[in-house]
């Protein structure tokens, strides 16, 4: 029934004004991401430009900026400099991304240095090894440690929001995804005073297949919904990996709308971890405005 329900969202027919609205919303929710070993400062600067001004073609109202640019810690200073003065936030993966197979101290140092270098948001990975071995309390503890690190006022008075990557492709079963989601939400709640959108749960690193599938995202949304019902706190959601087309993005937003409600249709509570998605959203948005499809080469890369 879970998979059937997930498919049902793809059967919604989103046309005209609703379509434009959701395309714009999706653009504003993008975490434009580059997580390659060969990433260069130039590439990151290009991505930042695109995040601030996704498109040179003027539209009324203007095309919204992306929510964040997501990079490795080494490139955080480059992104922070390029995004200064804009609304676009700097997100950094940390905690020994993507495997998490490092001692906790090193992973926490990774977090602190990324924040000090200018990260507004930390995308951490959980220890799937510990989770799968049944050491659930270890996972809860590490999440609490990282959240504390994000809240600690460091150099320049900076704190950060936290996104917790479950790496659902390695958890394999839907039961595990739900269990890991609940585990993280409970750990976060145990730290207390969580404000809306301070913490996200995120599907994947993008390095493992399968990444964000609709049934997996649905389970995580249900965990967020139940957590909100129990505590009143709104946790955010970020599917990452595998969402490449505007159509897929709209399917996800329909799923968010019908599972959590319209309150979650904001970049403060929902993000897409993607890079190639941006151009397809732009193509579809311009198609709605002009009646014509643009070619891929009409848009800058990424």
């Amino acid at each position: 029934m879970l998979e059937q329900r997930a498919v049902s969202f793809t059967r919604r027919s989103i046309k005209t004004a609703s379509k434009v609205r959701l395309l714009r919303t999706a653009l504003s929710m993008l975490d434009l991401t580059t997580l390659e070993g060969r990433d260069s400062p130039a590439k990151v600067r290009g991505l930042c430009r695109k995040a601030i001004h996704p498109c040179d073609i003027p539209l009324d109202p203007p095309v919204p900026s992306a929510a964040a640019v997501c990079v490795y810690p080494a490139l955080v200073p480059v992104a922070a400099a390029a995004l200064r003065g804009s609304t676009v936030r700097v997100a950094s993966v940390a905690t020994g991304f993507p495997s998490g197979q490092y001692p906790l101290e090193i992973r926490l140092a990774d977090v602190r240095s990324a924040i000090d270098a200018g990260a507004d948001e930390i995308d951490m990975v959980i220890s799937r090894g510990a989770f799968l071995a049944g050491r659930r309390r270890d996972v809860a503890e590490e999440v609490r440690h990282v959240l504390r690190a994000c809240r600690t006022v460091g150099e320049g008075g900076r704190t950060a929001h936290l996104k917790v990557i479950l790496e659902t492709g390695e958890l394999e079963t839907y039961d595990n995804v739900r269990m890991a989601s609940d585990l993280v939400l409970e750990a976060v709640a145990a730290e207390g005073d969580v404000h809306d959108g301070e913490v996200f749960i995120k599907t994947s690193t993008g390095k493992v297949q399968p990444a964000a599938t609709m049934p997996v995202v649905l389970i995580m949304l249900e965990a967020i919904r139940d957590h909100h019902r129990a505590t009143g706190v709104r946790i955010g959601m970020k599917p990452a990996g595998g969402i490449r087309t505007a159509k897929q993005a709209i399917h996800h937003l329909v799923m968010v709308n019908e599972t959590l409600g319209a309150d979650w249709l904001t970049p403060g509570l929902f993000r897409f971890g993607a890079s190639s998605l941006a151009n397809d959203l732009l193509r579809q948005l311009l198609r709605q405005a002009t009646g014509r499809y643009m070619a891929q080469h009409d848009f800058p890369e990424a």
């Binding site: 879970l2 919604r12 046309k15 005209t16």
Partner: protein, 504 residues
Amino acid sequence: MTHDHHDDTAASLQYDASAVSATMRTAPALIDYSPAPETARTPVSESCGLFINGTFVAPRSRRRFETINPATEERLSLIADGGAADVDAAVSAARAALRRWSRTRPEERAKYLFRLARRIQERARELAVLETMDGGKPIRESRDVDIPLVAQHFFHHAGWCDKLRYAFAGADPRPVGVCGQIIPWNFPLLMAAWKLAPALACGNTCVLKPAETTSLTALRLAEILQEIELPPGVVNIVTGAGETGRMLVEHPDVDKIAFTGSTEVGKRIAAACAGTRKRLTLELGGKSANIIFEDAAIDQAIEGIVQGIWFNQGHVCCAGSRLLVQESIADDVAVRLRHRLASLRVGDPLDKNTDVGAINSAAQLATIRRYLEIGRAEGARLEEIPGPPLPERGYWCRPCFFTDVDPSHTIAREEIFGPVLTILTFRTPSEAVERANNTPYGLAAGVWSDKGARIFDVARKLEAGVVWCNTYNQFDAASPFGGYKESGFGREGGMAGLRAYVTL
């Protein structure tokens, strides 16, 4: 459901996650979707004939009645009201065609059925639109459920034509003869397929009587039968109301009656067939129990409840209309159900985003409303989720459920045949089974638990023709469907369904 308008796009982009609403809402506000009407139009002729001996003929009764679109109350066409002479002509045509059709080589019969299935697929969109216009069901369902299952049913039975000896090992299956088939209005074309496909596969000829409010797709099927050049008289379609059905049942030259409909009419048909040579199968009403144990995957069970009772406006004989929830999770289930109900969209059946369409007829709406009144009068609590206003014309009933229901309440015992769920609770598995079986009906049931042993134990004890485990309302041409007790006898679909159409 709020009506957010489309010009506030900018507002939705603001970064305002900090705005915490102090009050916890039971159901969230959702954004609305722009209208997404199905644009394919299908022409409907102003007046329809009867399909007898391969051609459309005017009714000898000279009577016609209106068929309307229940979502708009506008007339779609005039339908012939078949009288005694018409029924007689149809039965004679079927009798005359029987000799050749029953001796047609099985692999040749199969070709007709394959061709029919293919042609239905090719004309699927047209058929789906017509089904929705005439019956009120959402286009999403007629497009994604009804019509694909119709095609599947003919494909499946096309495969049986030349394999009947293997279905009945050691026997020599022969056709029964002329079959009179009377079908309901809830799945008009699908029920026609359930009746016609096995009958034709086994070499019988048929006289089909569609329900009076939903004749159009059956008549469109007749056009397709002409296209595929099915020999004249093999299938005859006589439209009309209950009286036409009675004449078909009582016609002395009919060898077999198959009826799907209410238990009340089924009993009259059984009485009429008693003491005659006619063979009979009946698929009647139900008050099926959908049992949720505390160890079930609750969100999946919620989907099963929705699928069970709000599919096709609850016009489903096997609808999971009696929800039995373990007491420990009853409140949680009600909260989740309210939340989920708020996302169901009620309205124009031709809009692709509609989940719950129009009630099939004014009469059925009156019946449903009467039960809602009785339920309230007997002390149960009715919960409806408010939504945008419903269209002014047409027959509408918002999906709803009753809590505080006592097992002796009328709404817990009688078939409502609408989008109305009654919720009862239980404490132990044996109490669940006892409560589930405490009904004159026995068509279907659902069991939800993540514990395999409990599923098998409970499923075995349920007196129901179909038991769905951790799912509901799943249909397949290969899977037999039918009831216990006052839900009828005989099976339709799969190998078991062939038995009603052969003499061994």
